[in-house]
Assembly symmetry: none
Homo-oligomer: 236 residues x 2
């Protein structure tokens, strides 16, 4: 569950299996789709961490899939890399224009592919790419599952860690309880909304603890009727 989920859509089974093999070697979890429609459905159903789209597919081309994914809020944030047989500059531009994050022309080496995937993830979802994320005096090490505040290490349970990972990727943004449940627990999990409050409470407490008895300022903002957000304590 800790590995990165990749959805690949390509109508050519050989190509599909080749990529799958290479990515699985590199410790990615791979899901495959044989055409565009399936890709859209799977993307919504499973919210992978990144999507690789073949440019030309029956049913719905990579471009159409890309547009469609970008138009739905549930899939809008998922980074997309377009794969194409043609290496024309026009396509590249069209692809990026339609909302893709990167564009690779075939043939490509497994090494290149993996490098590109990591590059895109580093840019869009730093915590997945194991890049250290900083925000204010907070520092989060995704690979080590470790958090520091003012250089002091903080112990968090797995759930609290995931919540913080999500919040810190988009500081300031308000996440609803539903969003948190979807992203941290996974969709389709039946858990009380209120449980989120409890975990937020635990996260808060952990982040506030300091050597002296006094608490550090709270880094989580409660937004009534909406949810929670990470924020820098502002000047009062």
């Amino acid at each position: 569950m800790t590995s990165i989920n990749v959805l690949i859509a390509d109508d050519e089974p050989n190509q599909l299996e080749l990529v799958r093999f290479n990515l699985e070697q590199a410790d990615f979890s791979v899901i495959t789709a044989e055409d565009g429609e399936q890709a859209v459905i799977l993307a919504q159903e499973l919210t992978p961490d990144i999507i690789l789209l073949d440019w030309m597919m029956p049913n719905m081309s990579g471009i159409d899939v890309c547009r469609k994914l970008r138009s739905k809020s549930s899939t809008r944030e998922i980074p997309i890399i377009m794969l194409s047989a043609r290496g024309e500059e026009g396509d590249r531009i069209l692809g990026l224009d339609v909302g893709a994050d990167d564009y690779i022309s075939k043939p490509f080496s497994p090494v290149e592919l993996i490098a590109r995937i990591k590059a895109v993830l580093r840019r869009t979802r730093p915590s997945l790419a194991n890049a250290v994320i900083e925000y204010g005096n907070l520092r989060l090490y995704p690979a080590q599952k470790l958090v520091e505040r003012d250089g002091r290490q903080i112990h968090l349970g797995p759930k609290e860690f995931q919540i913080l990972s999500l919040l810190i990727e988009r500081p300031g943004q308000v996440f609803s309880r539903a969003q948190l449940l979807d992203n941290v627990w996974g969709h389709g999990v039946y858990i009380e909304d209120r449980t989120v409050d409890v975990h937020i409470g635990r996260l808060r407490k952990a982040l506030q603890e300091s050597l002296d008895g006094k608490n550090l300022p709270d880094l989580i903002r409660t937004v009534r009727n909406s949810g929670y957000a990470l924020h820098l304590p502002s000047v009062r």
Copy 2:
């Protein structure tokens, strides 16, 4: 409740369902009307965020509906996109002339439709598109449910935030108490007119607070017998 409400009026059930399907896929909330009269009634009743009008309908044509909506204050501000089978330039001009915000000729792709809707909304209701809105020294971040004045963060209750969101979209424009009640509380809510005054008072107070004891200039103009408007203090 956060999604965008679209009212579609078309006499062809197939067309209606097609559009409904596509829009719902893209996370819009859809209401449908089968003729012009119904469209006008629903528009008033539900104040959707945007209206799609078929050009030719029994009972009342799209043009007539458009005129009618533009003539009533409760619906005047709702953006309208006309849909038409004919692609003649004359119609386009007539449509825009009558007060439509955009004009799409059939057949159109779902992608195009959605793009147009978003474009119109971005133009007319920036906060729905999640863009940061600035006005004078005020800055409103819809996604973060946050307001700043002179860079200083301001705490607002949900109601006050919504009121300000509405006002800031059309700075200077006077909103009646009825309009505010409709937009912020929702239609059909039975609340005293005077309650609006109280919330405006709270909003005023929150916006005026500053570090030193002194108050910042008032940003809300009271228009006797009419309502309230956001304004820059310099403009008298």
